[in-house]
Amino acid sequence: MSIQVRNIRKAFGDFVALDDVSLDFPTGELVALLGPSGCGKTTLLRIIAGLEQADAGQVLLDGDDASGTHVRERQVGFVFQHYALFRHMSVFDNVAFGMRMKPRGQRPSEKAIRAKVHELLALVQLEWLADRFPAQLSGGQRQRIALARALAVEPRVLLLDEPFGALDAKVRKELRRWLRKLHDELHITSVFVTHDQEEALEVADRVVLMDRGHVEQVGTPEEVYRQPATPFVYGFLGSVNFFHGRVDGANLLVGGDHLPHAQQELDAGSEVIAFARPHELDLVPEADGNTGVAARITRILAFGVTARVELDGLNGASGQHFEVELTQQRVAELALTEGQTVRLLPSRLKVFQRNDAIGASA
């Protein structure tokens, strides 16, 4: 089933959680709502589920306005960050709950319920835990039971609120892969909320980036990572270096230093902010001329496959810190030492107009 949200607005007192948000979630896709805490992603998920009421706007489930539909009739599966398993019920009873609460006419027989519960427990690979209680399970097991419980009522969409947020890094990684596999088997329209960019990029078919109640960009993981539409997206997806400067033809002026860029459409003289990822920067020895931003090396971390060099900006970029990722070979070639002055030269530079960088774009 497809989900559409149209012009959703929601405020808590003076705090605007969602400001005119419109999105499409096509049938069968796994979509991530990604953003820092407080960006409105969980609120949006809860509005889709019906657990929260929007101040304005519509939620369309399969094209029908669901605004007047009660939560229990929306047929959504909801997985909570802290599992919300019924602590006084066994795993079996937890999973059976949704089926047992159905009105008498629609309720399956106890035998059918039993079969369905075992089928779902097999799906989440935890059949052997049927008689345990939630307190006896690990976090990862609890979250898989919560998922089985949500699937038991055959929801038309599955909504997951920071499903792996409370788990430790190793389990999180395993469950991520497992969720992706499960989605490939079931193909149920799913939306999950996360603040972990790696998780979103790895699991989702499409990523929705949100900041301060606005949608910043929607796209495949590849698109949003390769072509960030706004400075926020650039900064949020991975480490980033930025330069404040002014456009001067094919160069940016950063203080007295020049940075070459490839974007044609920039107005000469306008204030800009330019981004480069650590691996998109190279270091060249301090020499005559002023191409590249001068910086002093503060630290070289040369373990691992690549070396990481941390620098403090000089001249026009003073007070800023930079992070550069180089091959071990390149480090040896340049014979870098801590305290040395070098120039930063980007191989790729993404430039945004300065006013864009301050206010979030719509």
Binding site: F78, F80, Q136, S138, Q141, R149, V171
Partner: protein, 306 residues
């Protein structure tokens, strides 16, 4: 007194921490400190708690079992027992319903005046029971606000059973709510939300999800509420009128007997209340024990998702 009445859910599982503390050289206190503190607390316990309790039973049985028994089956004593049971039987369920509603409202909803409500719930704890009684005399008494209206409709409230029930309800008002509010606030509303998303209606959610989660706290509140309802003296004394065989509850009956120098009989009836207190303590301990072991047996946790 409210501070002492909250069930401590977290304390139990760490019972043996004290043992470890004591057995370690580095954290052990010198013997004289230990024995002085122990001595002071045990002396206080013996003088202020144990001695009076023993005295009640000793005095009650001073003139033999026969006198004891006849004091209990005396007509006035029996009617006092009946009245006490009636007052408790009405006020406890009323406060149970009120307590659950209030705790639900406070824990699960945001509304104006919430803090005022939380504060007001404690009023019966903070006000003297005599004032509690007087409030009803001022409202329903012959010279009170509603006095003429009440007299006109031939309803007796003050110096009659309804007044006693009202005073008891007032005094025992906070017990259940006070017990449930922190418990329900700590539990949040996620489980209820999960139930609703899974298709449960309001009643099913309350019955299958909320109630099982609060049942031990609820029972604990009810026990304390009941103990207070049966033992209340001050407020009931003001509205009762002390009519023998009609408006005397057990505590009032004890006072009357005592004032008439029937010491053996007074202590005999008092021993009933003392027994009630002991039974209450026993049930309370059992409930605490159950509440803390409620999440069934602690087995070693399985390691993360495999």
């Amino acid at each position: 007194m409210s501070a002492a009445t909250t069930l401590n859910w977290a304390a139990a599982p760490r019972g043996n921490a004290a043992v470890r503390f004591e057995s370690r050289e580095a954290t052990r206190e010198t013997p004289w400190v230990k024995w002085t503190i122990l001595g002071i607390s045990l002396t206080f316990f013996a003088v202020f708690l144990l001695l009076p309790l023993v005295a009640v039973f000793v005095e009650a049985l001073r003139k033999g079992w026969e006198t004891y028994w006849s004091a209990l089956i005396h007509e006035d004593a029996l009617s006092a027992i009946m009245l006490t049971l009636t007052a408790a039987a009405i006020s406890v369920p009323l406060n149970l319903v009120f307590g659950v509603c209030a705790a639900w409202a406070i824990a699960k909803f945001e509304f104006r005046g919430k803090h005022l409500l939380i504060t007001l719930i404690d009023l019966p704890f903070s006000v003297s029971p005599v004032i509690a009684g007087l409030i009803y005399v001022l409202i329903f008494g012959a010279q009170g606000w509603l006095g003429p209206w009440v007299a006109e409709h031939d309803v007796k409230i003050i110096f009659a059973v309804p007044g006693i029930v009202l005073a008891t309800v007032f005094v025992t008002f906070p017990f259940v709510a006070r017990e449930l509010i922190p418990l329900m606030q700590a539990q949040g509303r996620e489980e209820e939300e999960a139930a609703i998303v899974l298709g449960a209606n309001g009643w099913q959610t309350f019955w299958y999800v909320t109630l099982p989660n609060i049942k031990w706290g609820l029972l604990y509140g009810v026990i304390l509420c009941n103990a207070r309802a049966m033992g209340e003296f001050g407020a009931v004394s003001v509205v009762s009128g002390h009519i023998r065989g009609q408006t005397n509850t057990l505590p009032l009956h004890v006072e009357i007997l005592y004032n008439e120098y029937q010491f053996a009989a007074a202590f005999a009836v008092a021993s009933l209340l003392a027994l009630l207190a002991l039974v209450t303590l026993a049930i309370k301990t059992w409930v605490e024990h159950r509440a803390c072991s409620a999440p069934p047996s602690r087995e070693p946790r399985q390691d993360a998702a495999s």
